[in-house]
Amino acid sequence: MTTMTVKDRSIEVNEEGFLVNPDDWNEEIAQEIATREDVGELKEEHWKVIRFMRDDFQANGKVPTIRRMKKTGGVPVKDIYRLFPKGPAKKAAKIAGLSKPEGCV
């Protein structure tokens, strides 16, 4: 287990960088993960995706797929790939403080 320090607070993350305790999540931590993942500064477009993912996870207990982000969240697939380049589903889930997506799509 490794830790990540955000504003003097030590946060536990697993070897892939996903939060160990989902309750640790806040917007500052999300920004710190985004920086580490080369996503850069989180803008309103990113937050829209992150908020949808968190709300959807709360409601259904599953990390939403990219198709679900498109169909239910209303975010075009192209935008998801542009906002979270190089592995969007996993990166967005990590930044949103959720677990690694399990499905194949």
């Binding site: 198709r67 697939v77 790939y81 190089k86 799509v105």
Partner: protein, 158 residues
Amino acid sequence: MSQDNGRIEKVSIVISRGSLDGVYPGLIMANGARMEGIEANLFFTFFGLETIMTKHMDKLKVATVGNPAMHMPSVVGMLPGMSALATKMMGREMEKIDIPPVPEFVEMVHDAGVELYACRATVDMFHLKKEDFCPEVEDIINVGQFYEMAHGGQIIFT
């Protein structure tokens, strides 16, 4: 070659069959590659071309004849409506796990950055034209161009 720190960086996937069970694996692998940040190309050849033909892409069926894994005798699979039934059942299960129908899947992989190509030899053999294909198709290319495009990556034949 295509591996850096043990990671695949690029794949070129060939889809050569036109049954539903023939096209989904390639689409899922191409989409999955993009989801992992891997560069991906799709090359459609022979009956696989139906996947990207405007007229056929929403009508692909599961093959119920000559397929031992269907666990039904081929004569049953030949009955009218069997293939349509199997297709409907598979479609319903796929929808549950968020795997889209073929036309939507083609659009999705394209939007995800997969480049789609049609095989020149098959296009000539079946007397097809660029207009027969959905707009997501980049180009009609020959096998030599395919290898150029696949350079530096892995090739997967389905």
